[in-house]
């Protein structure tokens, strides 16, 4: 199925050339809007309701911000997505594809196909702040920073334990150093505001890194 990409600039999912952006046509049945100004990109789509699927790149916000919501029955041909990426790290191969209760099955299938066709793995989730991965790992990363402050173990001992004990490719402290503590602050602070759960409250070390600039 031919698809086109509307690039509004500064995409976190596709900061560099990728099979998905390179394989795009001038026009298509599926429209992918990437970049930091999705709202503006949306207005550029003609006959939006006629498209098989319209897929919008999301930050920490919900898809409902763009589609509106209707007492639990919302859903259309518009989906959200984000290619998971930690701070300054390279984007991962994982795309979280966001649906609503009444998302059109054909739209979901087409969007999934498109990403998989570009060599990406797709996990489908409903429209919640932090989707799957951020929602799960931010409390873990905050806890690691807090336990470091509390002297549970050295940073190296903590990282080694999670690598040897669970086979994680990288421990939490090394991962945060590589991808940026301030970037962790931004995401976990946004989720803390959205979810009101203390587990997302930025750990002291993340706040210090953010304040230091």
């Amino acid at each position: 199925m031919p698809y086109c990409v509307i690039d509004t600039g500064a995409s976190r999912s596709f900061p560099a050339a990728h099979a998905l952006t390179q394989g795009a046509a001038e026009d298509g049945e599926v429209v992918v809007v990437i970049g930091a100004e999705v709202k503006r990109g949306l207005t550029r789509i003609r006959e939006r309701e006629q498209k098989t699927a319209v897929v919008l790149e999301l930050g920490t916000e919900c898809l409902g911000v763009y589609t509106g919501e209707a007492r639990g029955t919302e859903g259309s041909n518009v989906l959200g997505f984000a290619r998971f990426r930690l701070g300054e790290g390279e984007p991962s191969n994982l795309v979280e594809l966001v649906r609503q209760p009444n998302t059109a099955p054909a739209a979901l299938a087409a969007a999934k196909n498109l990403f998989e066709g570009a060599g990406l793995a797709v996990a489908v989730c409903n429209d919640f702040p932090g989707r799957i991965v951020d929602r799960l790992i931010r409390p873990y990363l905050n806890a690691a920073l807090r336990r470091l402050d509390e002297g549970l173990a050295t940073a190296d001992a903590m990282d080694t334990t999670l690598k040897l004990g669970l086979g994680y490719p990288e421990g939490p402290i090394a991962l945060l150093e590589r991808t940026g503590l301030a970037a962790h602050f931004d995401v976990t602070q946004a989720l803390y505001e959205a979810l009101g759960d203390a587990a997302y409250a930025p750990a002291r070390r993340a706040r210090v890194a953010k304040q230091r600039g």
Binding site: F84, S92, N93, L94, E96, A121, V122, A123, V124, C125, N126, F128, R131, I132, V133, R135, L136, I137, P139, Y140, A143, A144, R147, G151, L152, A153, T154, A157, M158, T160, T161, L162, L164, G165, L166, G167, Y168, P169, E170, P172, A198, A199
Partner: protein, 291 residues
């Protein structure tokens, strides 16, 4: 500190049997004690099979295995532990059971013998408190399966002497294991992070964020983990997760450690995980992972 030559492993279940393999393989004379003779017999068969595989894979020679197995002796008589320089306890996860065992061992073993516990969720200081030798006691938390996993989380209790901890640490290295030092704190490092993480994943399912298979796929793809949280939970078993949560939450009162209601419903429904053929995923057989 006296040199460690003879090691005692008390409790010959899942963990004790593996720890005994590690000690014997590293060249220590290793005594394994259990109240159940059948547990010793099963472990003996499993150890022989394990070392036969090691020969097949070229990791050990036949004559080395003969020496190792000769050094690995099972017993149902705790008095044999009077010969031990260090004892690792791996009996049931119950403070009373552990205290009773250590009280007996304290009478049997010479004063210089170091005691260690493999507990996952109890406090090293509390176990040591009932051992009669709090200053010669250390935490040595191995990972399952101990004969394959190199990590050992080591923690001193409040009264552990520096010399004892150092001797236990050196012994751990002599085992060919990789020790990491942690405080005597609930869950040490690994379970402190893992139990709440798995609970968080279960809560995502409870709150309708995504299906277990999608969450597994997302975590593996995004983080490069070998297993998703639900694949791991199915391996651990819901009954065990409940016990781990109760122990962790009971000692920390941290909300993330509290057992999600879905776990109890799954236990009631017989969806324990791999061992019952169905947990968050369905399995065609109940074979253990990797076997």
């Amino acid at each position: 500190m006296a040199e460690i030559r003879t090691v005692g492993v008390a409790g010959c279940g899942t963990m004790g049997a593996g720890i005994a393999i590690v000690a014997a393989r590293a060249g220590f004379r290793t005594l394994v004690y259990d109240t159940r003779a059948d547990a010793l017999a099963t472990a003996r068969r499993q150890s022989e099979a394990f070392f036969a595989k090691s020969v097949e894979r070229g990791k050990l020679k036949q004559d080395q295995v003969a020496t190792i197995l000769g050094n690995l002796v099972g017993t149902t008589d705790l008095r044999d532990f009077k010969a031990c320089d260090l004892v690792i306890e791996a009996v049931f996860e119950d403070l009373k059971v552990k205290h009773a065992l250590f009280a007996e061992l304290n009478d049997i073993c010479p004063p210089q013998t170091i005691f260690a516990s493999n507990t996952s969720t109890l406090s090293i200081t509390e176990i040591a408190g009932g051992s009669g030798r709090g200053e010669r006691f250390a935490g040595m938390h191995f990972c399952l399966p101990a004969q394959l996993m190199k990590l050992v989380e080591m923690s001193p209790g409040l009264n552990t002497s520096e010399a004892t901890f150092q001797a236990a640490w050196d012994f751990c290295k002599a085992l060919g294991q990789h020790p990491v030092k942690t405080k005597d704190s609930p869950g040490f490092i690994l379970n402190y992070f893992l139990i709440p993480f798995n609970n968080d994943a279960i809560r995502l399912v409870e709150s309708g964020v995504a299906e277990p298979a999608e969450i597994d796929k997302a975590i593996k793809g995004a983080m490069g983990y070998a297993m998703g949280p639900f694949e791991l939970l199915d391996l651990v078993g819901m009954d065990t997760q409940l016990l781990l949560c109760e122990a962790m939450h009971g000692s920390t009162h941290e909300p993330r450690a509290a057992c999600p209601p879905l776990v109890k419903r799954m236990i009631a429904a017989g969806r324990l995980g791999r061992k019952s053929g169905r947990g968050f995923h369905a399995y065609k057989d109940s074979k253990m992972f990797g076997s």
